[in-house]
């Protein structure tokens, strides 16, 4: 999506932070799940949020769906700060819907599909009377290609496969005709062969109904398949973002490079003659409870410099892309001075 100055993002986070205190065996410590995130989601675009577990990507979705309350920063819906009160909440959820990672957990297993879909229609006054509710529920099922809908509507979630359940969850979200869908790893619990169905469904919804989708995933290949724009998270902040193809083809941040190198790539099949990276950077995920002096990726970074240990890099603009790395700043300066020279 072209980013113009007039365009107001549907969802926006400014300097979003979520710190919480936990008790580990009597010790109090603060975990910084989000530590200053700036994020914009525009109408009709699909943005992928990629990162390891613990990077904060799911937390963002949960702040946007009002499950968690941020401890710092602000969130905006269509340029207005999001208000949390029952009345506003209702209107907000008419526009923003969350799809959970685990379709086995997000549907009440003791209720029939007809009840699950019927409730949302009744609550929002979208259908009146038994017949109408059932008719509209059937339509919803058809919209997520569960056909014949009659065959599914009277069943329990436990009778359905993971992919089918995830469709039900999507259908429930679609009932209110939202303008944004937050999809929190919607396919990670699904079998490979049905994963694409769900991804394609999201793609179609964007195409047909102009919904904006925030696609949260750890699978960078599927992010590439689905999204227009990609943001990479690490340790509670965004470290790189930009148009998907550019980020994939030419990652700037060492962490993005690491993620890409680590992702399984069928094209590197055994015998192909392409070496698989033998040893990715050492170290494990970021411990969000520790304080860090400089760049939070420094401890794992293969290109670490002195500066990285003492100063934290901010998200820098570079030709329509952003990256939080001192290397990028050097590059930007070089480019700028190059321009100067050529002028």
């Amino acid at each position: 999506m072209p980013e113009t100055t007039e365009q107001v993002p549907v969802l926006e986070a400014r300097n979003l932070a979520l710190h919480f205190d936990v008790h580990v065996g009597g010790d109090r410590k603060t975990i910084k799940a989000l530590d200053g995130v700036d994020l914009k989601l525009y109408a009709g675009e699909i943005m992928a949020l990629v990162g390891e577990s613990g990077s904060g990507k799911t937390t963002i979705a949960r702040v946007f769906s009002l499950i968690y309350k941020q401890t710092g920063g602000e969130v905006f819906f269509r340029g207005e700060p999001i208000k949390v009160s029952p009345r506003h909440e209702r209107e907000y959820f008419n526009n923003v819907q969350l799809i959970f990672q685990d379709p086995f957990a997000s549907l009440n297993s003791l209720k029939k599909i007809s009840y699950i879909l019927g409730r949302v229609l009744k609550i929002h006054g979208l259908a009146k009377g038994r017949k109408d509710v059932r008719q509209k529920s059937l339509e919803l099922l058809e919209r997520v290609s569960m056909s014949p809908a009659e065959a599914y509507i009277d069943r329990y979630p436990t009778d359905l496969s993971g992919g089918q359940r995830q469709r039900i969850a999507i259908a429930r979200s679609l009932a209110v005709s939202p303008s944004v869908i937050l999809a929190d790893e919607p396919t990670s619990m699904l079998d490979a062969s049905i994963r694409l169905d769900v991804l394609n469904l999201l793609k179609d919804l964007r195409e047909e109904e102009g919904m904006a989708v925030m696609y949260i995933t750890h699978d960078i290949a599927s992010a590439r398949y689905l999204s227009d724009r990609i943001s990479v998270m690490y340790g509670g902040v965004i470290v790189e973002s930009g148009p998907t193809e550019e980020v994939i083809a030419n990652p700037k941040h060492p962490y993005t490079k690491l993620l890409l190198a680590a992702a399984p790539n069928p094209a590197r099949f055994k015998g192909s003659g392409v070496a698989i990276p033998s040893e990715a950077a050492a170290g494990t995920g970021m411990d969000n409870s520790k304080t860090h002096g400089g760049c939070r990726f420094a401890a794992r970074c293969p290109a670490v410099m002195d500066r990285c240990l003492s100063q934290e890099p901010a998200l820098l603009e570079l030709g329509g892309r952003q990256s939080a790395c001192w290397l990028v700043e050097d590059e930007a300066q070089a480019a700028a001075s190059g321009e100067l020279v050529s002028h």
């Binding site: 936990v22 009597g26 577990s53 613990g54 990077s55 904060g56 411990d287 969000n288």
Partner: protein, 365 residues
Amino acid sequence: MSIDVQDHPPLDKGPEPDLEVKKQPRFSYKARVQGFKYLGKRLVTYLIVAFISLVANFMLPRFMPGNPADQMIQSIVAKTGNMPSPYALAQIYARYGDPNQNVLVAFWHYLVQTLQGDLGLSIQYYPVPVADLIGRALPWTLYLAIFSTIIGWIIGTWAGAKLGWKPGRRLDSIVTPIAMFFSSIPAFWLGLLLVWFISYKNGWLPPQGAYNESLAINLLDPTFLTSVAIYSILPMATLVLVGFANWMFTMRNMMITTVNEDYVQLARAKGLKPNKVLRNYAARNALLPNFTGLAQSIGASLTAVILAESVFIYPGVGSLLFAAQGTRDYPVMQGVMLLIILVSLVFNFIADSVYVLLDPRTKEK
């Protein structure tokens, strides 16, 4: 039993952040402090319970119909032919309601007395102090409670481990319902049946008492100790028969679940001897809940012990209570009740301590 887990907002799904630098060996200073902290919290709970029971003990007689203090004085007069001593009078009024005294002041006196171990004088055995009566009876009751619980625990846990290791066998389907039936029989009724069949019909064992009364109480005398052991067979057997099945069921079900755990399967895959897998992997893990339940249930078993004592006329607090009930000896009844509550609190606290020591994971939660 479970441990309090602090409620905190869920993190991003996935493995916990790596905290390994902070991890300490099992018995480090820090881990110990954490264990103590937990026990300290528990102790506060128990103190609250103890205080509440003291208050209840103080309040209850004041809700009794009639005027218990006067009733008591009358029964003492009827028994001894004399008025109680001024000290005894003051005590009775302090404990059972003096219309002329402020309740709070009375409570304060009561509290001070009780904490000094002064539980008043028995009416039935006037003027013997209640504390003396209880002091004489308590060892017998603890002896029955502790030993019967431990024996029942050992039998039940062992049988449960065996049944749960290979469940579904014929033995399992026979033993389980039978044990279920036994565990449901009231202890006092079973005790009477045993007395009737073993003592009266066949004369195999003495029907009542705690030792041969012709012997002097001497803990160093083997004849006396043998007599104690023989006299306690019937009450013990009753309590064990009624009590072991619950241990068996929990152990059996824990075992069945544990055997399906990955680490037991991995132990099998490692080619360890089946007995070793049973012992070091399956039983050791399945045992944890049973182990911590043990100390706690000694306290809980007091109810059954009291009932059994009254059947076997065993000189413990149960018999004391039973007799006191019959003669309306309120001071004894109240003293015994306080004691039962305190003893169960002590055993609950022991259970907590055992838990902290046993499970290396406790301290992390």
